[in-house]
């Protein structure tokens, strides 16, 4: 069976500030099956947002893309304007990080929600209204009629993100792209919003690409997790197998560095050394500058993804890692500090 979303050797270059192009996505391959939730985890700047933007064809002007992205077998970069618009309007829903910036401030919540449903012209106004009220209650917004007439500045960040989730679901898409949907929210609201996304996704059997910098969060809502570093995916694993013996040193570092459960901080405290950007990566492994197990070979030769039980890891020394004692798996209760 072919995947619903299939990213194949994606490479994205953006025009640099002065001259030339800068690589921000090196070589990303990732599949999302129908109905499956996949987490894309990495530090800030690792290229998570650019990956989703490439999928949505929302890259900044002058961006160069190579590789292939397919949805249900159809090439997204190859779509013409009309097909692209139609695809965006009916088959994919996007939840952005900052709802306050991503919802037009001068139009009402009702305008925002109706705009999406009415686009494909399949629903009458009353059917649309029906669907919108239903979804708004589903995302936990009580007084629907009042909210529809309000403006974004009259709603809290949490409510606004619920509106965004409702909006993404109004067209009954098959795939949800969620780019750090809770990073802009406060902690208690974060948990509620995650619970809503998770529940609605499962109910509807939607596929989801869930972007976050929080491994635990990703493991909680996703079946499979891809770990991204400096524009490439270093490891892809089943969520419950992550951090076991065969994991990539970067994943292990992330796991070891996570704060105690219960006082989860907004940003990961990470591994020794400075996280590098994709364009700084030389011929070798992207993680070579920070890896505790680095060897000469790592600096000279880029490791290809190797199949391991449950996933794949891009490291020259899987065998060596295999032999070492692994950190406990995510979700097994508490980190090792």
């Amino acid at each position: 069976m072919s995947a619903l979303l299939s990213i194949d050797r994606l490479r994205v270059e953006l025009p640099a500030a002065k001259k030339g192009m800068r690589t921000v996505i090196h070589d990303v391959s990732l599949d999302v099956q129908a109905g499956e939730a996949v987490g894309l985890v990495g530090e800030s700047g690792s290229g998570k947002s650019m990956t989703t933007r490439a999928v949505m064809r929302l890259l900044p002007e002058g961006a160069r893309l190579s590789g292939e992205i397919r949805f249900d077998g159809i090439s997204i970069p190859g779509m013409d304007r009309r097909a692209l618009r139609r695809w965006r309007a009916t088959r994919v829903g996007m939840i952005f990080q900052d709802p306050r910036a991503h919802i037009n401030p001068v139009r009402t919540i009702g305008d925002f929600l109706f705009e999406g449903v009415m686009l494909d012209g399949r629903l009458s106004t009353s059917q649309a209204r029906e669907r919108i009220s239903h979804l708004m209650r589903a995302v936990g917004i009580a007084d629907v009629d009042r909210r529809l007439n309000q403006y974004p500045h009259e709603l809290s960040g949490g409510l606004l993100q619920r509106v965004m989730i409702a909006a993404a679901l109004t067209t009954e898409p098959e795939l949800l792209l969620a780019d750090e949907p809770t990073t802009a929210l406060d902690v208690t609201t974060q948990e509620e919003v995650i619970a809503i996304i998770d529940e609605l996704r499962r109910e509807r059997g939607l596929a989801m690409l869930f972007i976050t910098h929080d491994l635990d969060l990703a493991a909680a809502v996703c079946g499979r997790i891809a770990v991204m570093y400096a524009g490439s995916i270093v490891e892809e694993q089943k969520a419950d197998a992550l951090g076991l013996a065969t994991s990539h040193p970067y994943t292990k570092g992330l796991l070891a560095a996570r704060p105690e459960l219960g006082r989860r901080e907004r940003r990961l405290q990470t591994i020794e050394g400075r996280p590098i950007s994709a364009f700084e990566v030389g011929d070798g492994c992207a993680f070579a500058t920070r890896c505790p197990r680095v060897r000469d070979r790592c600096r000279q030769e880029r490791p290809a993804p190797t199949q391991v039980p449950g996933g794949r890891v891009a490291c020259h020394f899987i065998d060596f890692i295999d032999a070492a004692a692994g950190s406990p798996a995510v979700g097994s209760g508490g980190g090792t500090r």
Partner: protein, 302 residues
């Protein structure tokens, strides 16, 4: 209102300290006799202290009575009223041209950045540097004397004839302002096109045309309206040059002429009317802005 009050004092005060003695002008002759001068001074209250004469002037002004012109020997309000229509027509004509052409070019430049944007930006940069009187000379040379499409002189009579007469002056007056409004519009629209909520609209498959209308223009309308309003308000002051260049008997020409002849009553009255027009346009702009932006309306209500 405060603006108007302050402006009235400044306008009146400025005229008060202007060098030259209007009485000399009134009596005529290069060596007037002192008695005649004193008589004229008394008649026109020229020797009163500043505040006293200011208050007398102001109390008249609020009733629409700006006194009597020393040169024309007739009420200032009549002199202005008889010329007002021409000037208002000219300003309105120029304003419409500026808003349509300026906003249109600006939006086009921002929306079709690669194709139209470069050309329009270069053109408007050149246009910005072209003052009204230069454009007046060029327009007259090309369209009036050269092609003979438009009259060279005067304001005409009857609406169509007037509009025909006012076309060249209006375009000369509008010319550099079109460029200015276009550049501000372009910047505002471009900012909005790059905003994150427009990304959302794209991601939802909203058609381009709807994005432009609902999310770009609607959101950029605030700054566009403000700059258009300021420009239109500024036209009232700029109209003098156009009127002079095309021999149109409007308020602007009257102002210049009166200033040259030191006909203070007229200069003061026209200055005040211009400031009032400016203030009124600004108020309208603020009002529209409040209506356009729900956040501003919310703040005002609170």
């Amino acid at each position: 209102m405060t603006t108007l009050g302050v402006a009235s004092v400044v306008i009146y005060g400025a005229m008060f300290i202007v060098p030259g003695d209007p009485a000399t002008l009134l009596v005529g002759g290069s060596k007037p006799n002192p008695e005649a001068l004193a008589a004229v001074r008394r008649q026109f209250h020229l020797d009163d202290p500043f505040w006293q004469s200011y208050l007398r002037w102001l109390s008249g002004a609020v009733r629409g009575d700006f006194g009597v012109s020393l040169v024309y020997r007739s009420p200032v309000s009549d002199l202005i009223a008889s010329r007002a229509l021409t000037t208002i027509l000219l300003v309105a004509y120029a304003a419409i041209v500026i808003v349509i052409a300026g906003v249109g070019l600006g939006v086009l430049a921002a929306w079709k950045e690669k194709r139209a944007g470069v050309v329009i930006t270069m053109a408007t940069t050149v246009m910005m540097g072209a003052p009204t009187f230069v454009m007046a000379v060029i327009f007259v040379a090309v369209f009036a004397t050269g092609l003979g499409w438009f009259p060279v002189f005067g304001a005409g009579s009857g609406l169509t004839d007037r509009l025909w007469h006012l076309t060249l002056p209006a375009f000369a007056l509008a010319f550099s302002w079109i460029a200015y409004v276009a550049q501000v519009t372009r910047a505002a629209v471009r900012d909005e096109i790059r905003s994150e909520h427009v990304d959302t609209a794209h991601a939802r498959g909203v058609p381009e045309r709807l994005i432009l209308r609902r999310h770009v223009l609607r959101n950029a309308s605030g700054p566009i309206l403000t700059v258009s309003g300021l420009t239109v308000a500024g036209l009232f002051a700029g109209t003098a040059v156009a009127e002079q260049a095309f021999g149109i008997n409007g308020i602007g020409a009257l102002l210049v002429e009166s200033a040259a002849k030191q006909d203070l009553a007229i200069v003061q009255a026209i200055s005040l009317v211009l400031v009032a027009a400016f203030v009124v346009v600004n108020m309208l702009v603020d009002l529209c802005n409040a209506l356009l932006d729900p956040r501003a309306a919310g703040r005002a209500a609170r």
